[in-house]
Symmetry: C2
Subunit: 338 residues, 2 copies
Amino acid sequence: MSKTTIRDVAKRAGVGVGTVSRVLNNSPAVSETTRGKVQSAIEALNFSPSLAARRLSRGKTMAIGVIVPFFTNPSVVRRLQGIVSVLSVSKYDLVLFDIEKVNQRDSFLRTIPQRKMADGLLLVSLTPTDADVEQFSLANVPTVLVDAYHPALNHVRVDNIAGGYQATKYLIELGHHKIGYISDYLDDPFNSPVRDRFTGYKQALAEAGIEFRAEYHCEDRHGRFQAQQMTHNLLTLPDPPTAIFAYSDTQAIGVIEAAQELGLSVPDDLSVIGFDNIEAAEYLHITTIRQALFESGVQGAELLLSLMQTPTSEPQEILLPTELIARHTTTQYINGTF
Amino acid sequence: MSKTTIRDVAKRAGVGVGTVSRVLNNSPAVSETTRGKVQSAIEALNFSPSLAARRLSRGKTMAIGVIVPFFTNPSVVRRLQGIVSVLSVSKYDLVLFDIEKVNQRDSFLRTIPQRKMADGLLLVSLTPTDADVEQFSLANVPTVLVDAYHPALNHVRVDNIAGGYQATKYLIELGHHKIGYISDYLDDPFNSPVRDRFTGYKQALAEAGIEFRAEYHCEDRHGRFQAQQMTHNLLTLPDPPTAIFAYSDTQAIGVIEAAQELGLSVPDDLSVIGFDNIEAAEYLHITTIRQALFESGVQGAELLLSLMQTPTSEPQEILLPTELIARHTTTQYINGTF
DNA sequence: CTGAAAGCGCTAACAA
DNA sequence: TTGTTAGCGCTTTCAG
């Protein structure tokens, strides 16, 4: 029976409940003798305080809410691992919300803050709307975005425009002119990185004087199979691309599979570059743009923790670097007309 | 301000707090008119009830604790994904505890149940001690083990002895006699699958009349790099194995890397079989023993949910099947003396 | 069907 | 230092 309360302890130790509470909270204002008595009463009764009661009376939940979309996505998982690594040694519990459906997202983003379900919020790969942000500030719960951006909120992210540029530029430097872009839905308001990388892609193209070809850009739901489909279409075009930039490594895997299916060799017939540098990218030797996934989680969690200690008026911004990792899925384009 | 309480609502609606509470909990004992008044007061005030208060007065947390070891382990993540998929559509919050250190484990397993931090507990890949189990039943919180076993607790798992046997048998059928086993620490009391698979390995060997060779078995901390190390040692033995059974796919990847480093071809010079069928195993075409990782999480969570509804006296047991998936890292052993 | 009031177990302010 | 007491915001009898 965990039905023992602070009152039982007080009675047994022959003190008041206040004193027991003080001992529980390591208040210095307790004499060693009293503390001793209380401690042994606690031991004897195998007592431990009720979280619920403590939360109610303190008005704090001692929990941090982590909201992720599509928990099956490897890059999201990796970020979460970073978050977990810092939260698990903190005094906060981590309560995890997975958002798979659009309507879930709305209701969650609205209710979580105002129900005071958590003392702090971490949104991973989820760009909130202005309305959401208003809810957050109304509820006055510190929030940090990981891999997402909003001018009014603390965030840690990478420069996705630069990353997209970097990837495309590399392909161009290898001699490619016909470069496809396989992406997630561009108009998803909750996913700004897709748009940013696309912007970087077009910038690199423009800078090199290569005209953007609409038929070289495909978008669909995120996923390996969808990417495979899209690539199949791209590759069976009358004038197919010689290189493909995939929005994510997961998609790059689909791209490679599609090429193999068509009997094309990667990288000889098709160069492929991904984004994220998930573990699978290493195993499969995929050229990619590395972003510090795990680290982003760590930094986000640490930022949140510090903000919960000492709030700042201005939203904090942490920008992490991206880095090109050249592996075996990209190569020089040898023009057939040599 | 989320400072609006049930009392504000009651006042505005001109009713008592009890009535508001009834509306909040969809009690049928409220007239439609009253309900209407209360509803609009709630809307007007943008009120939502405090979780903490509700938890305290109801004595339930509406949360399920999920305890995982080494959240970086892909198979653990996959199981968790299964758990999340069912919990995220339930009315329970999921609070996640990651246990990386031994002492953390002890304190967690002890305090979580008795502090009533959760209405139910899911232990993933963590075999509790008898003392732990006693705590659980004392605290009277429903618990289910996923990928772990204890006679007194509900659990969902696979038959790891059979799985280990299956893997080894397959290698033997391919003509291999010199079969190494790369594993995690065998004497970790919290990880029974390592021992079980090892048992299956030895059974298959014995059955085929192959003598167990101590030097063909290596153990170290779980991980790709450790596996790589161990394999290096195995492969540079005077009389090296021609096939290796790795305790996990993660380790199988390390095995393959070690082979490649030594200029050995997989599967021509060395057959490798893993266990789990994580995603990377598919990408890398690793022969493996599939166990339904995601599914185990789903089943575990569902079992827990049902147990929380209607407890059973006997511990429930769900046994999931394992299945051999032959891919490209195993092949017939061609004896050099042909 | 509805209101009043008594907790749920703890913390914190106030006295002593 | 320590005990007492008034909440924290909701649920749940118990009357009416």
